[in-house]
């Protein structure tokens, strides 16, 4: 043969799944912010809605706290928009993004490279974590500075915020990866995914006040994670007196934890079973 040297490939170093996962996070975050439409429809969308509701309902009285302060539209909608942000950045953006990557050949290229599938998942979940955190920080900042929302001072409330946020963002990202298998093509992805997330937002107390929905609808919404995430967020930002408006008349953080954790496990199992780099033989 004409070969002058015999090529051999050195073995791959250990721990590369995590290292490559972190390298994917940086790569994913960078590309996310270069994609104008996803920045608008998932990153800034909750902020736009918080602004609309705060302005549109500026004369509406949502109740009073124990000290007699009026709860404004901005106060009331901040937790709802934080929950919506988790759903949009996690589930909606992720599923549409991955369906697109499957159609345009990105995943085919990755599937032919030595990138472990778990590194890819770490990258996606990390991206949602980073963008979700920035989104939540921006929402809270604008709510506090532009709309005069009084933020909780009790550290235990911020602790609740931290775990609801982390659990919510992970669950939504994992469910997004799982749902990405649903659209047949990248082009149909928005048409398949957006109705799901839109209906969830309407029945889970994001746009409409949850306590005015009929009880059967409240019970139906309780099957899905968004209702619980919104409830968890309300427990952080609304006065304690508002707990009586919840289905069950309490914040029920245990319920939030259990319902979301179940969806996290369901999502993980679905990812493991359904995720493919490419649709074989298509």
């Amino acid at each position: 043969m004409s070969a002058t040297t015999v090529m051999t490939t050195p073995p791959l170093p250990a721990g590369r799944t995590l290292r490559l996962g972190l390298s994917r996070v940086a790569y994913e975050v960078r590309t996310y912010f270069r994609q104008g439409d996803s920045v608008f429809f998932t990153f800034l969308f909750p902020l736009v809605f918080l602004t609309i509701f705060s302005v549109a309902f500026s004369n509406v009285n949502f109740g009073k706290d124990a000290a007699g302060h009026v709860v404004t539209a901005a106060d009331y909608y901040l937790p709802a928009m934080l929950a919506a942000g988790l759903l949009l950045s996690g589930l909606q953006n992720m599923s549409i993004d991955i369906a697109g990557e499957r159609s345009d050949g990105t995943l085919k290229r990755l599937g032919g490279s030595p990138l472990p599938v778990f590194s890819y998942f770490i990258g996606k979940i990390g991206q949602v974590l980073v963008t979700g955190l920035l989104q939540a920080a921006l929402l809270i900042l604008v709510a506090a500075t532009a709309f005069g929302v009084r933020l909780p001072s009790d550290p235990s409330r911020w602790l609740t915020f931290a775990w609801v946020f982390l659990l919510g963002v992970t669950t939504c990202a994992v469910l997004g990866i799982a749902l990405s298998a649903l659209p047949r093509t990248g082009k149909s992805a928005t048409a398949v995914i957006i109705p799901i997330t839109l209906i969830l937002q309407f029945i889970s107390g994001v746009y409409l006040q949850f306590n005015v929905l009929p009880i059967w609808l409240q019970n139906f919404a309780s099957l899905f994670p968004l209702k619980w995430l919104a409830q968890g967020m309300r427990s952080v930002f609304l006065p304690d007196g508002f707990a009586v408006l919840e289905n069950g008349h309490e914040w029920n953080l245990t319920g939030v934890l259990i319902a979301t954790a179940i969806w996290l496990v369901v999502g993980l199992v679905l990812c493991r079973v359904t995720f493919r780099w490419i649709r074989k033989d298509s």
Binding site: S2, S23, R30, T31, R34, R109, K280
Partner: protein, 295 residues
């Protein structure tokens, strides 16, 4: 009966989609350090074959071994030894050329230098440009760069030079020659027969899912297909004679003392040989189906 020196070994490979047969009993070996071209018309089954070897598609029958493993079972360590340049790519490309290559380099244990690879595909000036802003031919060069960044032992090139201008094609040829000298084994498909002739040691020709010929580039089609053709023009029109002694034919022509019009001696190129092979295969298939229908 497998060759121990074979990097790729394919035996009686078949692939069917429902009632359609994409590949039918294809067998070939690719030896270490060799460049092998798989040629054939559109839809003949070249990409199906290459994607089975890359592990993207399942086969319907036959045996396949790539770097000693069934691609079906190829894991991460196996993929780390391959370089794949797919036929179609259309990623959103929100990263620069340099970012993309630096990122992919991280997947491999012993990658090539990012800047050297960018230079070798002639994209130094586009290094900081977003991939989506590149032209089709430039994006194709990024594909090639991604294929070689991991210092692969075996490189798959599925129509790598589509959209290249002649200059880019020439520098691509130089790059492949360099990879060959470093010992890379290469499987190439291309529609440019001059490219196949220039780059590959051996070629296989696929038509309608069957391997119709295989051999060294200068042996494809058999010795008869290389017999030169003498052409000239006289009062009766264009004359053509296939002969292994073209000099004698020309000498005989010159006896009349008149310089023949448009005289040329042509040695069939790989392209001529290839076109003859495919045409005669299609004609045979046509005859067979006529016979089938007559039964």
């Amino acid at each position: 009966m497998t060759d121990s020196d074979a990097v790729v070994s394919v035996r009686a490979l078949s692939k069917t989609y429902g009632s359609f047969t994409a590949l039918d009993g294809v067998s070939f070996d690719i030896h270490r350090g060799e460049t092998f071209a798989l040629l054939g018309p559109n839809g003949a089954g070249k990409s199906t074959a290459i994607e089975i070897l890359e592990g993207y598609r399942d086969r319907s029958g036959g045996e396949v071994s790539v770097l000693g493993l069934d691609p079906h079972r190829g894991g991460i360590a196996w993929k780390a030894r391959l370089g794949i340049v797919l036929q179609n790519t259309g990623e959103s490309g929100n990263v620069t050329v340099h970012e993309q290559l630096a990122h992919f380099a991280g997947y491999y244990a012993n990658p090539r230098s990012v800047d050297e690879v960018i230079a070798s595909v002639g994209l130094e000036e586009k290094s900081k440009t977003l991939i989506r802003k590149l032209s089709g031919g430039q994006r194709r060069r990024v594909d090639v760069a991604l294929g070689i960044i991991g210092r692969p032992e075996l490189l798959f090139l599925d129509e790598p030079t589509t959209g290249f201008d002649p200059e880019a094609r020439r520098s691509f040829w130089d790059l492949i020659t360099k990879l060959k000298s470093e010992g890379t084994t290469i499987l190439l498909t291309t529609h440019y027969l001059d490219e196949a002739a220039h780059l590959s040691d051996r070629a296989g020709i696929i038509a309608a899912g069957k391997l119709i010929d295989i051999g060294r580039i200068d042996e494809i089609g058999g010795a008869d297909s290389r017999i030169p053709i003498v052409r000239w023009r006289d009062a009766a029109g264009l004359q053509e004679r296939r002969t292994s002694e073209p000099g004698a034919v020309v000498a005989a022509l010159m006896k009349s003392g008149i310089e023949p019009d448009g005289l040329e001696i042509v040695r069939p190129s790989l392209e001529d040989v290839y076109l003859d092979l495919v045409a005669s295969h299609e004609a045979r298939q046509g005859n067979e189906s006529v016979l089938e229908n007559a039964k």
